[in-house]
């Protein structure tokens, strides 16, 4: 049993090491990739900071509070994207027939797809989001429970984005060239959660809580960290529900993944 769980992880580690070696064979390009990736993300937060040269609060939240939201969602998507971002390219594997090759290999398909072309440049996002998060930390009145909630928030946020990446990439089992559809939910979810939910209409906030629980990435746990009640009047216990939301999304994602793989009948070429 332990072997069954460990083997996919070991395979994943091996393949990731291979890709890192390949990536480092073009050092100049790699250096620019890392700097570029950090810059995209840094400028992304600079844009929000510049907004605050014309305003003091956005949706009732100050810049540091927004930095807290920003850092939490950024670390989440950064970890998920670094670990398994390649799952977005599943349509390409179907189109080129590489998925057929992968199916014949004695390594779980999801592990192969996720580790393909692993790239360290995605670490740029995690680094930048962590810096923003650390800058935001002093605004929280820290207690042991809040530390725990913060740690659980980062884990759940990563897990939730992990689920979103897999779930919406599965669409490509049905339409191979619609990879961009997933971006609306993964990167869209990330962009959306950079702003306080109060910016959006109440219906949107409810849908992001109960239909597609993206709000649990940072909003509810951050409300707890900031000692605020939900401006939409939802109960406070939701602030502890991020792990449940993450577990639900991952379960659905794995089920859809399995359906997609079972349905897959190769391009036949």
């Amino acid at each position: 049993m332990a072997d069954r769980l460990w083997r996919p992880v070991a395979c994943y580690g091996d393949m990731v090491r291979l890709w890192i070696r390949a990536e480092l064979s073009y050092p100049a390009s790699f250096a620019m990739l890392v700097v570029g990736s950090m810059m995209i993300n840094a400028l992304d937060f600079v844009a929000i900071a510049i907004m605050f040269s014309s305003i003091d609060t956005l949706g009732g939240f100050g810049l540091r509070e927004i930095a807290l939201l920003y850092g939490a969602t950024g670390v989440g998507i950064g970890v998920a994207d670094t670990a398994i971002g390649s799952v977005e390219r599943i349509g390409e594997f179907v189109r080129t027939g590489r998925l057929d090759q992968m199916l014949t290999k004695p390594v779980p398909l999801l592990v192969q797809v996720c580790s393909d072309r692993f790239t360290l440049r995605r670490l740029g996002r995690i680094t930048q989001a962590s810096v923003v998060l650390v800058w935001a930390l002093p605004i929280v009145d820290w207690t042991p429970t809040r530390v725990l909630v913060a740690v659980v928030m980062l884990l759940s946020s990563s897990a939730l984005f992990f689920g979103l990446f897999v779930l919406f990439s599965c669409v490509q089992f049905w339409t191979t060239d619609a990879s961009e559809f997933a971006n609306a939910f993964t990167y869209g979810g990330n962009t959306l959660t950079q702003y306080p939910l109060t910016v959006f209409p109440r219906e949107v906030a409810l849908a992001l809580t109960f239909v597609l629980p993206i709000a649990f990435v940072n909003w509810y746990p951050c409300l707890y960290l900031l000692g605020r009640s939900d401006p939409n009047g939802l109960p406070d216990w939701l602030q502890f529900c991020s792990p449940l939301a993450a577990a639900a999304v991952i379960t659905v994602a794995l089920l859809v993944w399995r359906t997609g793989v079972r349905r897959y009948t190769s391009t036949g070429s």
Partner: protein, 265 residues
């Protein structure tokens, strides 16, 4: 005539990916909605931030989504093919064709841009009009000016992307340069945030750089913020950068062909 034929075929090549187009329109619209609400919240706090009103701001968001793919802000388009052909050596074939390399790829990119303008430009704009209170150009001159500014915006973006792809002559792999320039373009074009909100020298700098010709300038023309002579100078700003950058492309290409031995050749 040759270049028109190249452009037409590029148009047709991109139009084969229907599902990708629909998925892209959906994604542009989702981002349009997110940014619209964020900007509405900002302009509720400060109703004339940057000299825009709330309707201008929301219009700006949707125009940005419409232009994002048209000008290929992130990279992409025919310059990606070029970078790949430099990497694998096929560019040698391009170089001994009896046509200029820059013109050939520019024609292809304009064909691509027209396709993206008609699909991923128009569709999100219609969705923006339906969902939000976005404003149409205030005068026929503004509308005409906007239409003129699009090919100029594409040309500026093309020339920048061509220069980025050319780095592959020296670095072999242009991905790094591409990501780096994409980051700059996203920020300084006004895509991430309207440049009118940039404070002080940063705003002055951003408006002078060629990136602003891709998003901020066309958007301001649509919003009717450039009238009369100013409209002329906005278009001249774009055309000036387009010419200067295309000239640089020619120069870089000459340097590259003189210095570089094509791999595997």
């Amino acid at each position: 005539m040759l270049h028109v034929a190249v452009a037409r075929r590029a148009f047709r090549r991109y139009s084969t990916y229907r599902a990708a187009t629909v998925a892209g329109i959906f994604t542009n619209s989702v981002f349009g909605i997110i940014y619209s609400f964020a900007y509405l919240a900002l302009w509720r706090q400060n109703p004339d931030a940057g000299g825009y009103d709330a309707a201008d701001a929301v219009t700006y968001v949707w125009l940005g989504q419409a232009l994002l793919m048209t000008v290929a802000l992130w990279g992409g388009g025919t310059t990606d093919d070029l970078a790949e052909r430099i990497r694998n050596g096929d560019v040698a074939i391009d170089l001994y064709r009896p046509v200029g390399l820059v013109g050939w790829y520019l024609a292809g990119d304009l064909g691509r841009a027209l396709y993206h303008f008609l699909t991923r430009g128009l569709a999100p704009t219609v969705i923006g009009i339906v969902l939000f209170d976005i404003s149409l150009p205030p005068s026929p001159t503004a509308a005409l000016g906007f239409l003129l500014s699009i090919p100029l915006a594409v040309t500026v973006s093309f020339a920048l992307r061509f220069l980025v792809a050319s780095t592959a002559f020296w670095l072999l792999d242009a991905t790094g340069a591409r990501i780096l320039s994409g980051a700059l373009a996203l920020f300084f074009s006004g895509m991430a945030l309207p440049l009118v909100l940039f404070p002080g020298w940063l705003g002055t700098l951003a408006e002078a750089l060629p990136f602003s010709a891709m998003i901020q300038v066309p958007n301001d023309i649509w919003l009717g913020r450039h009238t009369g002579l100013e409209l002329g100078s906005a278009l001249a700003f774009q055309a000036g950068w387009a010419l200067a950058l295309l000239a640089t492309c020619g120069l870089v290409l000459r340097l590259a062909t003189r210095k570089v031995v094509v791999q595997g050749g």
